[in-house]
Structure formats: C-alpha cells, structure tokens
C-alpha cells in the first residue's frame, strides 16, 4: 500500500537532513581554509533558518486550521487498516459507530478519564493513528530546538575558527542531532520515538570527541557513549515490555490500553482498569514504566542518573556542552512528556510518585553539588541538572490535573480558563476543552460532530504547559550564559570562576549579559523571565496539591541563588588586570541573540505562556 506523505509536515527535519548532506559534500570538494569554514557555518545556519521558517509556516497553518479543525499529520495508518487494527473486542463498536473522526484535542487524556464507555469507544475508533504529528506541542519544541540551534551554530563558528576541529564533520553531526531533536517531539509511536532519540544522542558522542588529542574530550566522549548506550538499552527493554502488553506502538492506542479503556492484546480479558490492575500483566507494565522512566532520566541527567553530566560538559567543546544542556535535554523532556502524558497516563499511579521523588532529588543534588564548583562549565552542568528538577516537578502533578479535568468535566486545568460544562442528553458525556489555537472544541461522545484531528494531540496546558514554559525560558537564559562562557573560554585556558573576576569592566557587554543570564537562572528580579518561569511551576505544584514538593523547590531556589549570585558578584567586581581579548563576531551574535530573547521573555513572558497554555 502506498503511503501519502505530506512533505510540508516533515519539511523541517527534511530540510535539515538535506543541508547536512550538502555540508558534507561541500566539505569534501572545497579546499580547507578559513573562508570555507565560515561558508560551511553559514550553510548550516541557512539550513536552520529555513527549517525555522517551515516551523513558523506550519504554526500559521495550524492556527488557521484550528478554526476548521484540521491538524497536520503524516505517516498515518490508512483508514482501511485502522479499522482492522482495532482489537476484536471493539469490532462491534466500530461497525456500529459513525466512523467519523471525532477525536478532539485530547482524546487520550480525556477519553480514559471520562469513564463513559460510549464516548471512549467513539473517540477511539476514529483516532487516526499517525506517526508524525505537527501539533502545538511539536511546534513549540521544534521552534525551541531550532532557535537554540541558531545560537549553537553561531557559537560553533567561533569554536571552529581556530582550526583543529574538522569543520564539515562538525556541522554534519550537529545538523543530524538537530534533525533528531526536531523529529522527536513530532513522533507518536514508540519506534519513531526511539529512533529520533538515538539520532539526537549518537552524533553527540562524535561531536564530543572531535577535539582530537585532548584527553578530557576523549574521556567525556567515552563516558557519554557508555551512559547513553546503557540508557538506551534500558529504555528499549522497557519499551519492548510495553509493546508486549499493548500490542501496538502507537502512543495514543497504548494510552487507551494502559488505562483499561481498551483490552490489552497481551492480557486475556483485561477490558477495564480494575481487570488490568489485577491481571498478571500489571507487574510487567510497572517494570516497563519504570525502565522507560529510567532511560529518559539518563537523557535529561536526572538524579540518580546524573553523574555523567559534569565530566562530559567539561570535557566537550563549549558549544557541545550548550547543545547537551539545551537541545538534548529538550528532546529528552519531549519524549518523556509524550510517553508519560499520552501513552502512560493510565499508569500515573506508578509514575507520579517516582517522578516527584526524582524531581526533588534532582534539584537538591544538582544545587548542592553546584555550590562547590570552581569551573564555570562544571557549575553550569550541575545547575542544569538542578534546573532539570524544576522542569520535571510539574509533571509530578500532571496526572492529578488530568483527573481534575475529568472530575469537573471541564478543561479548567489550574489556569482558571473559562470553561463551560454542558450536559448532553441520552448518555453522551460532552466535554469542553481548549484545542490548539485557543478555539473551544466540543467533543460530544458518539454524537459524531466536532473537530477531526488526526493522531494523538498532546494536551499542552496546565502542568505540561508549565514544564514547557520553564524549558523554553531556561533554554534562552542558559544559552546566554553558555555563549558568554564560550567567549571567555577563548581567552582563558582553564575557564574557572575566578577568570570571570571583573569581566564587566574588561568587556561590559559580555559581563552584563552574563550577569543578567545568571540572575535570570537564579530567578530574581531583574531577571524576571526566570522568576516568572518559577512562579508558573510553583503555581502548578501548589495547585496539584504537592505542597512538599513546592517547599523542596523553594529551599532549592535559595541554594541555587547562592552560587549564581556569587558568580555574578565575581563578574561585577573590579578587575585586577585587563586581559587582551580577540574578536569573535559569531560568538558575539550568539550572545546578542540569546540575551535579546531572554530580555524579551523578561519584559513580556506572556509570549511564552501564549505558546504553552
């Protein structure tokens, strides 16, 4: 059967992949030299910009489509096959149903909690199974990754300017990673998810090791390789268990099965949540969930799978450290959110406490260890471990939020959005929810009207929205800090905190930029972006009823403040002696871009919240 591929939907990763190949070709045929190095950098930059343009075009299309209810998706299971794919137990429901697409913005998130069998069946039978979906969740992540990629390519141009690192290979590998990071949030099946995640991880080993004849870099590369491969193995094992029970790779279908809304092919007679919980497969599912969680915890450097981060960050070239701390981490979180919120939402009893404890541990350990660091990059490594904890924290209350939606029958998740609760007649359970594009879409079970949205939409609001908002703001401020660290690393050998003494006097722009980004990371005014990001996270945690987690996070904010402010104070103290500096235009552009975005987020954080709520 021939698949129809919507090339517009897959344009961003496609463009990046083509440009990656082009860079490799150009590098092979052009003579090596400074001009070619710059040219290759500009080519990569151009590829990223074009991909970003496609993402913007998609979001415009999506915003327009939001009104008539058409989403963007491709690699779908054709309609004929989709009907057969529905397990036998539901065949009757399928034939009896209208067959129209009634899946709404959150068919999974809502369907399993509505508890009304009819609406579940109705939603289920019409959810087209697509592997690649460009919804708001995807586009926010893709935009984040591509803008971060712009900054990192600019930083790379300075890093490579001195030679010593093969240019063509560098940009090729960098673009490959970005292809993976753009594909990952769009993935809606397990296979695609794993492949995309590996595409993010594998080139980074090579990137780390490209600084040849450097002991630290080689050590970092080996460490990253071993950790990453182990984590992949663990995750694959978990994925295989989940697949074994669920019998499908599609996240939305898995979500239905694990919440008991649909019978699990691997388990006899488990057609209700209770039956699933008491069946022998329950243990297998729990193990699968925990293993998948552990695999992702490696990727996002969450405690207790964090130990690799500082060594790798320090050993790798600074742009790669920035890549790891922003793009790689964003990709890890995208996968984690996709799995937890769509596929495993029915198993939240298992993962909610685990995520909460991991979040608390991650922020505490990261902050405490950051206190003792003397190297700038190591400090940023530990601080980014701690920040992972803050991003993870709202996910610990994501399940409660979803249940509250179900309980109130409205979509007023924590954000006090206006919600209307309608009571449908004759056994229908209508739910009103916010769909992408801020349109209110009514999904009436069995009624057969509403929006037709292929694939499983990820509900970007409430706790997930808070995580996403924090991630976006964190990316901007962290990249700003890394860009300045990159500048300083070109002039000082060891790049220790003491090398930053008096930076604001030697180079006011760099010094003030770094000070601003650090204050943002600490979450203090005038770094309002960081403050509001923390407020959003606090709000979701307090709303979700996890008071203890809020208190842990409050204490951690104070611990974190200490090292950020201590560093800021070093930057602003008078310099003992001026150090000659060289001009790195690309890195300056990177600093300017990252800091401009951070300042913009500080003045108008609503920009981020509009994207993520």
């Amino acid at each position: 059967m021939i698949q129809q591929i919507d090339y517009f939907v897959i344009a961003p990763p496609l463009v990046l992949a083509l440009v990656a190949g082009l860079v490799l070709l150009l590098d092979a045929f052009l003579p090596a030299g400074p001009k070619v190095r710059t040219g290759l950098g500009l080519t990569a930059l151009g590829g990223v910009v074009v991909a970003l343009g496609f993402v913007v075009a998609q979001s415009v299309r999506l915003a327009r489509a939001g009104q008539d209810g058409r989403g963007l998706a491709t690699f779908c299971v054709p309609d004929g096959l989709a009907a057969q794919a529905v397990p036998g137990g539901l065949a009757q429901a399928v034939s009896g149903g209208s067959g129209q697409a009634v899946a709404g913005a959150d068919s999974v998130g809502v369907s399993q909690v509505l508890g009304a069998a009819r609406s579940v069946e109705a939603a289920q039978q019409v959810t087209a199974l697509c592997s690649f979906v460009a919804d708001r969740f995807t586009l926010v992540f893709a935009g984040l990754v591509l803008v971060a990629a712009l900054v990192i390519v600019l930083m790379s141009m300075s890093e490579l300017a001195t030679g010593g690192i093969p240019t063509g290979e560098w940009y090729f590998l960098l673009l490959c990673t970005i292809v993976g990071a753009v594909t990952l949030p769009a993935s809606r099946d397990l296979i695609m998810l794993v492949v995309a995640l590996e595409l993010v991880s594998l080139p980074v080993f090579a990137l780390t090791a490209l600084k040849r004849y450097d002991g630290r870099a080689s050590e970092a590369a080996v460490k990253l390789f071993v950790v990453s491969v182990v984590s992949t193995a663990i995750m694959l094992f978990g994925v295989s268990l989940l697949y074994g029970v669920g019998g499908t790779v599609y996240l939305s279908r898995l979500g239905e099965i694990f919440s008991g809304a649909a019978p699990a092919p691997g388990v006899a007679g488990a057609a209700s949540p209770e039956a699933l919980a008491t069946s022998p497969a329950a243990g297998v599912i729990t193990v699968g969930v925990v293993l998948v969680l552990a695999g992702f915890a490696f990727k996002i450097a969450a405690v207790p799978f964090h130990a690799w981060a500082p060594d790798v960050y320090q050993g790798a070239p600074v742009p790669v450290a920035a890549l790891l701390s922003v793009i790689s981490k964003a990709a890890g979180f995208a996968g984690l959110i996709l799995l937890l919120v769509t596929a495993l939402s029915g198993q939240s009893v298992t993962w909610t406490p685990v995520v909460a404890v991991i979040a608390a541990l991650t922020m505490t350990v990261g902050n405490l260890l950051a206190l003792r660091q003397r190297s700038a990059v190591r400090l940023l490594a530990w601080s980014s471990v701690a920040q992972s904890g803050y991003i993870l924290a709202p996910l610990a209350v994501a399940a409660q939020a979803a249940e509250r939606v179900a309980a109130s029958g409205s979509a007023a998740v924590a954000g006090h959005e206006a919600a209307t609760v309608g009571v449908g007649g004759s056994g229908h359970v209508p739910a009103v929810m916010r769909a992408p594009g801020d349109t209110v879409v009514t999904v009436a079970g069995g009624a057969g009207h509403g929006s037709s949205m292929p694939g499983a939409e990820v509900f970007v609001s409430g706790p997930v929205g808070a995580s996403l908002a924090y991630l976006v703001i964190y990316a901007a401020m962290n990249l700003g800090a890394f860009a300045v660290v990159m500048l300083v690393s070109r002039t000082t050998a060891r790049n220790e905190l003491d090398d930053y003494r008096g930076l604001a006097h030697r180079s006011p722009v760099a010094g003030l930029s770094l000070a601003f980004c650090l204050v943002c990371l600490a979450g203090l005014p005038p770094g309002l972006a960081g403050l509001f990001a923390k407020v959003v996270v606090f709000r979701e945690i307090v709303n979700g009823g996890a008071g203890w987690l809020a208190v842990v996070m409050a204490v951690n904010t104070v611990i974190g403040l200490y090292y950020y402010v201590a560093w800021t104070a070093r930057v602003l103290t008078p310099a003992p002696s001026p150090i000659g500096r060289r001009v790195f235009p690309a890195a300056w552009v990177a600093v300017g871009l990252a800091v401009a975005i951070t300042v913009m987020f500080s003045l108008a954080p609503q920009l981020v919240f509009d994207l993520t709520s």
Binding site: A414, G415, H416, V519, L524, P525, P526, L528, L531, F532, V535, V536, F538, R539, V542, N543, G547, A550, V551, A554, V555, T557, V558, L561, Y562, V565, A566, A569, L572, T573, P574, A604, P605, Q606, V608, F609, D610, S613
Partner: protein
Amino acid sequence: MMGWLPVTLLAVPLLGALLLLVAPAALRPALPLYGQAVSGLALALTVVMVAVFDYGRAAAPQFTVDLPWIPGLDLRFHLGVDGISLPLVVLTALLTFLCFAHLGWGRGRGPGRLMGSRPRALVFTLLVLEVGMVGTFLALDLLLFFVFFEIVLIPMYFLIAVWGGKGRRGAATKFILYTLLGSVVMLVGLLFIWSQTGTLDIVALARAHGAGMSRGVQIVAFAAVGLGLAVKTPMWPLHTWLPDAHTEAPTAGSVLLAGVLLKMGTYGFARIAIPILPEGAVAAAPWLGALAVVGIVYGALACLAQRDLKRMIAYSSVGHMGFVLLGFATLTTVGVNGALFANVAHGLITGLLFFLAGSIKDRYGTADMPSLGGGMLATLPHLGAVLTFASIASLGLPGLAGFWGEMLALLGAFQPADGLPRGLFLTYMVIGGLGAVLTAAYFLVMLSRVTHGRPSRPSSGLVGAGATVGALGGRVEGVESTVDPGGASAGGSGGLTDSGGYADSGGHVERSGREAAGFGGDEPDTGSGPPRDIQPYEMVAWVPLIVLILLFGLWPGLLMSLTTPAVQTLLGALS
C-alpha cells in the same frame, strides 16, 4: 483618575537608572547632582501625591492604574495608594533623596568617599533600590507585590557587598540568602491564596475578608506569608541577618535598610496577611504577639551588651519592630494604628540614628563605643546634641514620634480583639512595657558612654589608639581616662608613655586598622585638628528628619487621621 502619578513615580528612578547605562560619559561630571535631581523629582511627585490625595476617602486606594501585564499568570500591573501606603511612599522618597543629598554634598569629606569609588554604580544601585521600595508600597497585585519585594534584594546586596565594611561579603550573602528564603516561602503562600481564590487582586481579596478560604487554608497561608514577611521585618528569632547587614552596610545602605526595607515586611502584614487572611491572623496572633514581645526584650538586652554603635542601633530595630508586630497581633484599630505609626516613626528616627552613626564613624574611624571615649557634647556639641535628640526620640519620650506607636501598641494589647485571649495579651503588655524601660536603659547607657563624661580623645590622631583600646580591652580604658585632652592630642604618645610595652602592637594595630578602613572606602578624616562638628551637608540631610520627628510627636493626629479609616476597613471582618 491621576493614574499616571504612581506610574511616573516608578518610571522616574527607573529611567534615571537606565539613562546612566545609556549615557555614562555625559553624566559623569554631574553624578552627585544627577542622583539628587532624579530622587528629588521622585520626592516632588510624592509631594504632589500628598497634595492631591483625597483625605476623605483615605481607606480606598487612589491614583489607581490597572493594566494587564501577563495574562497567563493573571498578573496585572495594578498600582494605587491609600492611607496606609501613602506615608510609606513619602518616607521612601524622602529617605532616598536625603541619602543622595548626604552623598552628593559631602563630596571630598567622609561619606563623600563613597562617591569616589565607583560613583556611577552607586547612583544606579540606589535608584534601582528606590524603584523596588516604592513599587512594593504601590502594588495592589499579589504577584506584582512579590516582584517589587524581590527587586530590592540585588541592589541592597551590592550596596553591602561593594561599599560595605570589613565583613561585607559574609554580611551581604547572609542578607540575601536569608531574605530570599523568606521570600520564596512567601511566594508559595501567595500562590496558595491564589489557587484557593482564583484572584491576585489585593483590593478584591481584602474586600472578601477571607471568604472562599477555609480556616485551615487561611492558617497555612498565613504561616507561609507571615514567615516571609517576618524575615524581612525582622521578627525574633529570624533577625540574625540584620545586625551584620546593618553593621557592614555603608551609611546610605543602613539608612534605607532600617528606614524602608524593614517597613516592607510590616507593610506586608497590614496589606496582605491580616486583611486577606483574617481567620489565619486570629489563629496566629497569640504566637505573633509572643514572638514580638520576646523580640522587644531580646532586642533591648542585646543592645545593652553591644559595644558597636551601629550594631546597637541595629538591635534596637529588632526591639522596635517587636512593638510594631505586637500592635499587629492585637488586631484592633488602636493596635494596628499604633503599629503603622511606629513603623513610620522608626523609619524617621532610625534613619537619623544611622546617619549619625555613619558620621561618627567617619570622624573617629570607629563606631566602637568604648573607643569613642565619651564627652562628645563637649568636643562636638552639635553632633552630640542631635545624637541625644535621636536617642531619646527612639526610646519613646512623649512629645517625640517614637512615643505614640509604642504607647498605642501597648494600649492595643490591653484590650485585644474579640476572640483573642485577653489575659495572654495583658502579659504581653506588661513584658512589652518592661521592654520599653530596657529600651530607655540602653539608650541612656549609650548616651552616658558617648556624649557625656570627660572628653578623652578629641583628636583624630587617636584613631589607632582607639583600635588599641578595642584590642586590649578594659585595661587600657583606665589608662585612657587618666590622659588629659591636651596630652592625648599628641597622637599615640599617651599610650606609649603609660604602657610602653604595647607601643609596637599599638602601631601595628593602627596601620592595619587604617588599611581595613580604607578598604571599605570610608577612611577616617585624617586631616589635622579636631574632628569637625556637623557640616552643612549633614544638616541638609538631618533637619527634615528632625522636623518630622517633632511634628509627628507633637501632632500624631496628622498621621493617624490618614491610617485610621484604612485600618478600620482592613480589619472589617474582625472589628
């Protein structure tokens, strides 16, 4: 109506600070004047505010402006002034202006040295500080209040860490970590209120008087919010950051810290904790009162044990804030009125005391009371007289501003609000009264040590010997009292002849003492001759404070008429 006034009041110092970043070179020669001009403009705006304020409606917020800022967070740019915040806004603008006047006019002399080291950064820091302080008193949105509450942290940190004394690094770190811990806990409390009521509007929440929140919710929220405010206030036992910060901060930092920053904590009680969470306040009031009286007595006892003048004034703040908290704890119109009055009075009096302590430190090179040696009324009659005036105002002499607040707070404790245990509050009143006596005691002891007695060291040449006294303790004190003024003016010779064995160490201490003082940027006046009495620039800074202390002391109704209607409104549910 007149909504532009609070916005302009915030915009003036903010734009003033930004202009310093944009055009540093053009402004460099006129920096002292520039700071005075910007803060003077802000002060003029507050005077306009006082002039057009509708005193008939002092309970309602006026000059309100309410714009959406971040809809995603429900955060609105909601500003306004009522009878509670108006005096504090004016106090803030006044003290900031006086600090600039003190810094600017004293160029070349003692505190002017501060302007010598990185003047642009200093002006910038003080202006940003003013934005945060004024904004806190203007904000009518919980999150906006929090944002302004936090804005002051970074400038104050740098004020202490860059321009402070010897132990500035540690003091600044302690200050920021301590207060930030409080703030974050407060943030959790504020968000808890929000999650329960769904609004951040302080006006609406205060009007609701806790409706929509169960008693348990209110108690938890009050505990969290109160803890954050108590750190800032500071309430015993959360006060330990204060003495260090005050001792190490430069004069302007100490004045603003005592005069305004502490008020932000107490203002939070009057603006947020008590009106929004009345049931929580009733439940917490006995505890608050207990900690308040402990603070009063502890502050007084700690003051008796201090040798350093600045440290003593810092501990006296703990005691005075105890009275303010006791007034709040009574939850009566009288008590809360007294608390708000004591708040403003403390800002004026302690601001003046820190100015004086700074001047004394500039002249003598130390604020160590035994080293100062006494007899100031004879050597520096004007300075001594103003110090005496400020001290007796602070100890609560009737007829001066310090009296009314403490008296009303104790009166409130005599008859606390319904639902509070009267016997317990009577006990608090008695202990608080004892604390007032102790307050008088330590101020009088301080005056007898510093202003009275025979002047023993009129010359600044004795700076080093003073340090020796500090190092050698009481043994040399006796030596010093035997030296007549004429002999002592010949430098360290008095010490040399009487205790020859210590001459080397004395010289050593002198040198290191000077180095340390120079490091902090406030080197003692090394010019020949005796220290000068009050200078014109000091007069400019102090006279407005002296006048206001007298005015409010003789005519307390001026302030009371402003706060009473607002207090009655905020206690609406209780009284």
